[in-house]
């Protein structure tokens, strides 16, 4: 039991660690000068055109030590239309070795980000301007190494906002745990879940649950599996048959665990069978062929299409519709939602899919999470309202204070890459 207790906290622990690591790790990049001005001259080349000048190389900040940024002033002969320069070639030497061409650039270029580099290697660059009959090289840069940064301060505002929302989530979870009732408005599609399962029971037909075609690294699949927990609990209570063909082995494992837990919670572990969930194939349309056939042959009374769907969404929804099943669908993929809305009885649109599990379960943790997210949405609405008013005012009558506040808001929500 102790192991299971630890297991319960592992997803949250791992998720927090990963999020923390990403925020404070060099995932995104920004630039800051690191004086490494060029000093020496490369081999003499033809000089009928002027070379690029002021070639500067500096470390790319807040990355994993994999990139350097180069800037230069283009050749004075690099002019639009009448210019003689036809392009540039950038050369690099690693650890004092031979120079070799790393890229070709179009006329007018004045910067380049050299990526996929390694730490601990000395890099030296020079750039050559090309014309139809001549080449002109810049001076070489000094040797420079890449540096790895542990903290990505470009994401500081994102971290702060995440912290506010996370604090709200924790607050509401604790509030719910203390027994305070948290209000969540009705979500039409979810109201129908119990009725749909009840109807399947009355008709003596099965329930088909399709969790999309993505793996467990897709948040929509996670949401679908969470809803499956509630659906399978009702299924276990009603003694209805549930059938869940999946296209990913990990989803199969997670789904089996979920349904098994529901049957145990319902006090009917003997009624559970691993055969309720079975793997078909990873191939998208192979999976669709199998699911369509299951729909036509078993004629399920209720079909859940919840998760991440692609081109197969309309095929599945249409086939389900043709066998007369009640269909409850939900996805966060905007391109597939129109099909579900057209062919299914109830559709959970985007965020509703994620809210569904909280609404259905009524558990403090999930309800608190939902309420915390609502705090985030309220903040977003407030910021949009204020910022749009400020932006409009600053266009009509430029005021320094208004511009300052507006610039700050824009800066907060701008992710530097």
């Amino acid at each position: 039991m102790k192991t299971i207790g630890l297991f319960r906290f592992l997803p949250a622990l791992t998720s927090f660690s990963i999020a923390f690591f990403i925020i404070f790790s060099p995932a995104l990049k920004a630039q800051a000068p690191d004086d490494s001005l060029s000093t020496t001259s490369p081999d003499a080349l033809a000089v009928s055109i002027a070379p690029p000048t002021s070639l500067v190389v500096f470390d790319y900040k807040y990355d994993d030590g994999e990139a350097l940024e180069l800037t230069w002033v283009p050749s004075v002969d690099d002019l639009p239309v009448v210019g003689k320069v036809t392009g540039y070639e950038l050369y690099r030497s690693d650890n004092g070795g031979e120079f070799y061409k790393i890229t070709e650039l179009i006329p007018g270029s004045n910067n380049f980000r050299d990526e996929d580099l390694s730490t601990g290697v000395n890099y030296v660059y020079y750039i050559v301007a090309l014309s139809a009959d001549a080449r002109a090289a810049s001076v070489k840069t000094e040797a420079i190494q890449t540096h790895r940064e542990w903290l990505n301060f470009n994401l500081k505002y994102l971290f702060l906002i995440a912290l506010i929302i996370s604090a709200s989530v924790i607050y509401f979870i604790e509030t719910a745990r203390r027994g305070k009732k948290l209000f969540v408005r009705k979500i039409a599609g979810l109201e129908a879940v119990d009725d749909a399962i009840g109807q399947a029971t009355e008709m003596g037909r099965s329930i088909l649950f399709i969790p999309g075609i993505n793996d467990m690294d897709e948040v929509q699949t996670l949401a679908a599996i969470t809803i499956l927990g509630r659906v399978s609990r009702v299924v276990a209570d009603y003694d209805t048959k549930i059938h869940m063909p999946v296209s990913r082995s990990l989803v199969m494992t997670a789904a089996r665990e979920t349904i098994k837990a529901s049957y145990m919670a319902a006090g009917r572990p003997d009624a559970y069978s691993d055969d309720m969930v079975h793997y078909v194939t990873d191939e998208q349309f192979g999976y669709v062929a199998a699911v369509d056939a299951i729909m036509v042959r078993e004629k399920p009374a209720t079909i859940f299409l919840l998760g991440s769907f692609f081109a197969e969404s309309l095929i599945l929804a249409e086939t389900g519709n043709s066998v007369g099943a009640i269909q409850i669908a939900g996805t966060a993929r905007p391109a597939q939602l129109p099909f579900f809305i057209a062919a299914c009885d109830f559709t959970l649109i985007g965020e509703e899919l994620f809210a569904a599990s909280a609404y259905l379960s009524g558990e403090p943790k999930q309800l608190g999470s939902l309420k915390g997210q609502d705090v985030g949405k309220a903040l977003a609405m407030l910021v949009i309202l204020i910022a749009v008013i400020l932006a409009t005012i600053s266009e009509i009558r430029p005021l320094e204070t208004v511009r300052y506040v507006l610039d700050f808001l824009i800066q907060v929500f701008t992710i530097k890459t």
């Binding site: 923390f20 408005r185 494992t253 349309f285």
Partner: protein
């Protein structure tokens, strides 16, 4: 051999299309071949791409890969009922790591960038001198701001959709539905291209009716 493969592909394509008439033995045969072949293909592909290509080839260079390998092995413990519960650990790691990874992506794309893109003036002298240019920019910005705001109201779950709040939410769902309607036709056409591709195969490659 090439002719045999062509005829086999045409036979299987027609077998799948025959499902449009009704479920039949031809479809069942084609379905079984399709599923069996693809499942086998994916198993082999995942073994060579992931286990061999990512782990086996690079294991000496990156010791971190052993963590993944051990987690993968733990998954296989499901096959031993007595210690099958250990397979929950890698599963927990995957679920937790996924949540953590997506947390940042979602915050970045669904919150930060969305808000940044919505901070627009509803009027500006720089929108254009002509009426058309100015009106188009004003209406465009108004739609973006109103659409985003009312959409957020619709997805706000802590308040009943009543009164002014309810009317704003209704506007939000209308805008969402109009957006879906616009994307419906576009996506249908892209799905049609899949069908056209198969018909093209039958008429061109197989029957040679289209040169």
């Amino acid at each position: 051999m090439e002719h045999f493969a062509l005829w086999l592909a045409a036979f299987l394509t027609l077998g799948i299309i025959s499902f449009l008439y009704k479920d039949n033995a031809w479809y069942k045969l084609t379905e079984s071949i399709f599923i069996g072949l693809s499942a086998g293909y994916w198993m082999v592909s995942l073994f060579w791409d992931n286990f061999y290509g990512k782990f086996w080839v690079n294991k000496s260079e990156s010791p971190y890969l052993y963590v993944g390998a051990v987690l993968g092995l733990l998954m296989l413990l499901r096959l031993v009922p007595r210690i099958g519960w250990i397979s929950r650990w890698p599963l927990s790691f995957i679920v937790g790591a996924t949540s953590g990874l997506w947390l940042i992506n979602y915050f970045s794309s669904n919150i930060m960038k969305q808000i940044e893109a919505t901070i627009l003036p509803l009027f500006s002298a720089q929108f254009g001198s002509g009426f058309d240019a100015g009106a188009a920019a004003i209406i465009g910005n108004l739609v973006i701001v109103t659409g985003t705001f009312s959409g957020l109201v619709y997805f706000f779950f802590s308040k009943e959709h009543k009164g002014a709040f309810g009317r704003t939410a209704k506007l939000g769902i209308w805008i969402i539905m109009i957006t879906f309607g616009a994307s419906f036709g576009y996506t249908v056409m892209s799905r049609m291209s899949l069908f056209i591709g198969r018909i093209d195969f039958l008429l061109s490659d197989w029957l040679g009716m289209i040169l």
